[in-house]
Symmetry: C2
Subunit: 301 residues, 2 copies
């Protein structure tokens, strides 16, 4: 898994402060998470072949998280896209996009699927052979979800030396990697544990923006490899965090610490802070493995 | 009048190629014309105090001309705007903006007025003490208007030396500048033509994007000081211009020449052209006073 931050600032896009959007690469598949105004320009800057994006997840319908979506959909058409595109987001997102296409007498030459969300509990919303995506219901001023990306366990890893010592033909390898024992011609059973090792460890990523402090998240994201949690404010502005239903960096770090995640990235900074070093200084005493999000910065998971 | 090009490229915004938006300053008032995605970032780059914008004119509902509008409206709220904002654009624009505000449970703390257009003839849509704005119906794939900005004639210019020679008190100056003669105490009439000169010449600006070649524009923009006319294609792509209802640069120059405008700016370049010098070379034989639009370039009128 590789995460690229396209924008990590709140409210309004500025020249060097783009609003929320992230690109998650999982075993070659690209997933876009949120899409603030200008995201398509950030995608171009990132150098990623963004036509490969097939799934877009929108947390909520505040502008700094989705005003760039209609432009991206239009650009995909202009670039000659034919692959289907799936949009996951709050109820209402389809009406907005379709109305804009209709009034522009525009269309897409590719299939555009909307998966509208209105559940109040975490639910599975996407699954393929490599991973699952679950919603993470958040606590914000409008209906908002975070998203949990979890790789599925792969096949067991064949110990080729041992397999060859039993002269096992390669056509049986997939069966063994799936966990089965092997029976030799003389009837001897070679146990799977002798032939294989555990699969490579799976990775997981949780995206949580925007939200007030919500302890109910803790069991849902327990032990994830990487957590992005919004941290709009420093402690001195905790009153603002409360009234706007955002988090302070201390609250973000507390969630990370309670959920025993491996790494934490914070972002969605209020524009009142010119320097973000204080976010680290407030987080460190609670959760040391904290990193600052920055536009076009990548993280390997 | 001063025109600042914020973006002048067609279709999709790229890092150094912003879609259509222009800022026209008339005697201290700011008018925004079209608002492609990222316009608010271009406004910040321009250094102009864009909170002063009170009137926004949208030519048509294709994304490269208005996807930045909802973001600008939201940003005005976040910046604490209280002054009213007036939006002029095709029927449907209100529905799009209001739907997005509603689904975001958002609002504006300032009054937001929509003036929806659906006329087929040129009409007066705005007037204050300094200028008038008329629509310029264009020929595009969706309902589209250009806009004609015309300064009103100002007051006559007082010849202060002559006024002083008659010992005319300054409280009577406004009356004289309005065109009236002056009667001295002994009953002598001093004619206005002796006391004043003609008002400063008025200026006019016509914005025409997007459109196929439309000769009916010529009488509407006759003699304007500055014409912006879209020129999406070079002559070798005239077939594309025809099918997409855009203009070639030769067509733009022909309109300028027939309307005897003083200066022409061309823009809305197709992304297929990396270098725009050829646009000038094709325009010059027809209309020499042609200039290339460029992002963040300003023109004094």
């Amino acid at each position: 898994m590789k995460l690229t931050i396209l924008g990590c600032h709140s409210a309004t896009p500025r020249e060097n402060a783009h609003t929320t959007s992230q690109l998650l690469e999982v075993q070659g598949d690209l997933f876009l998470i949120d899409c603030g105004e200008g995201t398509q320009m950030q995608l171009r800057k990132s150098g990623i072949k963004f036509a490969r994006i097939k799934h877009v997840f929108i947390s909520h319908l505040h502008g700094d998280h989705f005003y760039g979506l209609i432009g991206l959909i239009s650009t995909f058409r202009l670039l000659g896209r034919t692959a289907p595109l799936h949009i996951y987001g709050p109820k209402g997102i389809k009406e907005i996009i379709v109305l804009q296409l209709k009034l522009a007498k525009s269309w897409t030459d590719y299939d555009l699927y909307f998966h509208e969300l209105d559940g109040q509990e975490s639910e599975l919303i996407f699954e393929n052979e490599k991973l699952t995506v679950h919603t993470l219901p958040l606590d914000h001023r409008v209906y908002t979800n975070g998203f949990l990306f979890q790789e599925k366990p792969g096949l067991r890893q064949l110990n080729r030396k041992v397999a060859d010592s039993y002269q096992i033909p390669s056509c049986d390898f997939e069966n063994i990697k799936a966990g089965n024992d092997y029976v030799l011609e003389d009837g001897t059973v070679v146990s799977n544990s002798e032939l294989t090792q555990d699969p490579k460890p799976t990775k997981s990523y949780a995206f949580c923006s925007d939200t007030a402090y919500k302890e109910a998240l803790v069991p849902l994201i327990q032990g994830v490899d990487l957590l992005y949690h919004e941290a709009t404010f420093l402690e001195k502005h905790q009153d603002l965090a409360a009234t706007t239903k955002h988090s302070t960096v201390i609250q973000a770090a507390t969630i990370a610490q309670k959920a025993q995640v491996k790494q934490l990235i914070v972002g969605h900074y209020s524009s009142r802070y010119k320097d973000h070093q204080m976010f680290l200084e407030e987080a460190y005493p609670i959760f040391e493995a904290t990193h600052l999000a920055a536009d076009l910065k990548s993280f390997e998971i």
